[in-house]
Symmetry: C2
Subunit: 463 residues, 2 copies
């Protein structure tokens, strides 16, 4: 206790007293993530405002051998930001300056606490655009997106976070500050450490700023909603459209459960019996978008869509997309505990994945609601359960386990964009060969020899 | 000698006698790369045909502590494939099977010996397209592209090799075979080892096959050639076009020296006095390409182009691009030794980079010819010299050194797409912080504890 008192005094000296939280009412706010499925309270929360402060905190933590768990807004969904061994939570939200938007070179450098939505608003004023769009974008920080290698609907056309990462500033355990990468797309100067850090879930170093590649804002966007009687029919439509050579910016799918919730909450006049809705966004040159929209509508009809509705204007388009996002909220509003999975399979196996999951759900009598990035094979089966009901929760975990096995059997992966974190670490062995897991652990050892940074994540303890 | 005899016998057992070369006339063919600037003869060349053979070779080499240098077609330009410590050259060109083209999922899995051009020909038959296009594509292997993280003209719109890498099979020093990644774009399962291997210049493991993301072949392509009186005027045109929100697939620049060589070799009727020519390719939906071509022509004229010529048809377009490639050959044909650099700067600093290099060239009285990927800031200043003239070569090396410093001072990097290899290893310290170089070395140690794989590359020996 006395030891921690002196540590807290040291931390206060580094970041000032307003940057250190120790009251239990404060600490509890940093004990969970976007799912509330795991809880662990830190001993202290530190909110730095500069890289130098981060370096000093890391040095103190290293000398005193205190675990450090880095986080942004905590919107993550696999437990990555939970301080399972207590110690320091290093919350980066006060490092929220946009350092540079270089419109001439289509790059930006930002501190990691910048909220993704705020970043895109600033870019829009200069007619620029940063595509990766995890659906937590209203709150998620750029640092969280970097640490988790975030995806989102735009991945179909634009790829994911790692495809836009050019450079970063990091602080190593021990406090050394390093600048990695640069601001050019082409850069082959030694191993690409920025891409090793991207998606490392805060286990290797603290990222303090990133330099990102930007795109010009597309001239036009068109949203199209298509309604289907069956999930497999919707899958057939996606296949036809992809094979035609079109690359929509987004292809999203929502299922019947969500359609009905949307109609309860904010009616769009969707047929409540529809098994699946596809939402497309096409973007780019106006003439191309016009041609391509016509083509998407035609192909959906050919694939037996019950109804196809192009959004009349930007407002209606925004309503459609708001409904998609509301669907996710509806899931949490309707269940005490949600296991939000993100298995990903080759696109043409998605219908098979969905129908297998429906069978698993029925067999264990556990509801599974499905939202999917149909364009890239990334499905979010949301398992509705209640942690307080041990028996039900056990069945839900069984469902999750079978969903992972199904995805792997279909040539897919256990996580497309949420990361392994706490939730999937016991399944890592199914998804990665032992030799590869050994390499991960050895690389961790290189960066963090004392094992202080975000301990207990990605792989299970032991040999 | 006796030791090597038994080693060669062991290698013959693994790959068969036809897969082992030991005659000095054979070995010399594996002693240099695309530049012929460095020479080192291996003790033996091994040509495996399966991953299992590679594993057995690596195990033998590990047990006997023999250096192994992996190579494909040897079209690389920074010395990466030179066996500076002798030992085994592991030549992957016989592992040249296209294992799978999955058109439904826009992925392909290929052995590393597949030649890039052959791969794209196979893809074209299924209306598919793999964008990374190093200008050695007629001979370069996919494995070389992976190890060097190759770029090319298409980087402007489509990015580089790492943006298309989904999975790989590797063999570690010691002989362990590992499968990494998968075949989905979204995959966050532990640290991304595939991206650590990509661009590692054959120093960490032997890549035996890769799984790549593909795109549908664009509906239309249009090439436009624009002629300028001055390099800075051409730079201004590139800036206007990029700021207009257009994203051409390629924006290439060639200088006056090359224009004159082209007119000597295969006249296109280019004005010999022109200081710079820009070559654009626009691709995608026909309507969009038509609109965008009009816009590029208009913007070039506004930016004071002397002449703007859209290619009449595919044949004329191919002639323009063949001239661009011939330019590169002309450089080698006109000089005993060429230092082919590939510094890269933020796009809007390219004109400044070029004019500074012109000054450096004049000051040292060493000719420097320039071909550039003007759309992404990647410039190829080709320094014309003669290794046999020690005094001239010394000045040429001085020019190279000043070019690197200039690129770094302009916020750029010393290598955009050729890699560090042998040529730039003494400059790595200028481009990367000491702490980052330590991390590279420690990662190397994790993969290759005996330091047998492609020794002597990327960084200089010593602490």
């Amino acid at each position: 206790m006395n030891r921690f008192k002196s540590i807290i005094a040291g931390l206060s000296e580094i970041v000032g007293p307003s940057g250190v939280l120790t009251e239990s009412t404060d600490l509890v706010a940093y004990s969970y993530d976007g799912t509330s499925n795991w809880h662990a309270t830190p001993d202290v929360v530190v909110l730095p405002t500069t890289t130098e402060q981060v370096a000093a905190v890391m040095q103190l933590a290293y000398d005193q051998e205190i675990p450090v768990t880095v986080r942004g807004a905590g919107t993550n969904l696999s437990g990555g930001s939970i301080p399972v061994e207590g110690g320091i939570v290093l919350c980066m939200t006060r490092m929220d300056r946009i350092l540079d938007i270089d419109a001439a070179n289509f790059t930006a450098t930002v501190e990691v606490g910048v909220v993704l939505n705020k970043f895109n608003q600033a870019l829009a004023r200069q007619n620029l655009f940063f595509p990766p769009d995890p659906q937590s974008f209203l709150a998620a920080t750029i640092g969280g997106c970097a640490a988790e290698n975030s995806g989102g609907p735009y991945a179909v056309k634009y790829g994911i976070f790692k495809h836009y990462l050019l450079g970063m500033q990091i602080v190593l355990p021990g406090g050394r500050i390093l600048n990695l990468g640069g601001k050019t797309v082409k850069n082959v100067t030694g191993y690409d450490l920025t891409l090793l850090l991207c998606g490392s879930e805060g286990t290797l170093a603290v990222i303090t700023s990133v330099t990102l590649r930007l795109l010009p804002r597309p001239e036009t966007r068109q949203t199209i909603l298509a309604i289907f009687d069956e999930v497999t029919t919707a899958g057939g439509a996606v296949h036809r459209i992809r094979q035609s050579g079109l690359i929509p910016a987004k292809i999203e799918m929502i299922d019947n459960w969500i359609i009905r919730r949307i109609e309860e909450m904010s009616p769009l006049g969707l047929p409540r019996a529809a098994e699946a809705i596809l939402l497309f966004e096409l973007d780019g040159n106006s003439a191309a978008v016009e041609n391509e929209s016509r083509e998407v509508i035609r192909l959906c009809r050919e694939a037996d869509a019950v109804d196809v509705r192009p959004a009349k204007d930007a407002e209606e388009a925004e309503n459609f997309w708001a409904a998609r996002r509301a669907g996710f909220s509806a899931i949490w509003g309707n269940s005490p505990t949600v296991l939000a999975e993100d298995v990903t399979v080759p696109t043409d196996r998605m219908a098979e994945l969905i129908s297998t999951i429906q069978t698993i759900s029925r067999r264990h009598d556990v509801p599974v609601v499905m939202i999917g990035h149909a364009g890239d094979g990334n499905l979010h089966p949301c398992i509705l359960t209640d942690k307080k009901n041990a028996e039900h929760f056990h069945r839900a975990e069984q469902v999750a386990s079978e969903i992972f096995s199904t995805a792997l059997a279909l040539g897919g992966v256990i996580s497309g964009e949420h990361g392994i974190g706490l939730e999937k670490k016991k399944f890592l062995k199914l998804a990665m060969e032992p030799g590869a897991i050994e390499l991960l652990k050895s690389i961790k050892q290189v960066f963090d020899p004392k094992g202080l940074l975000n301990p207990g994540k990605i792989w299970e303890a032991g040999p």
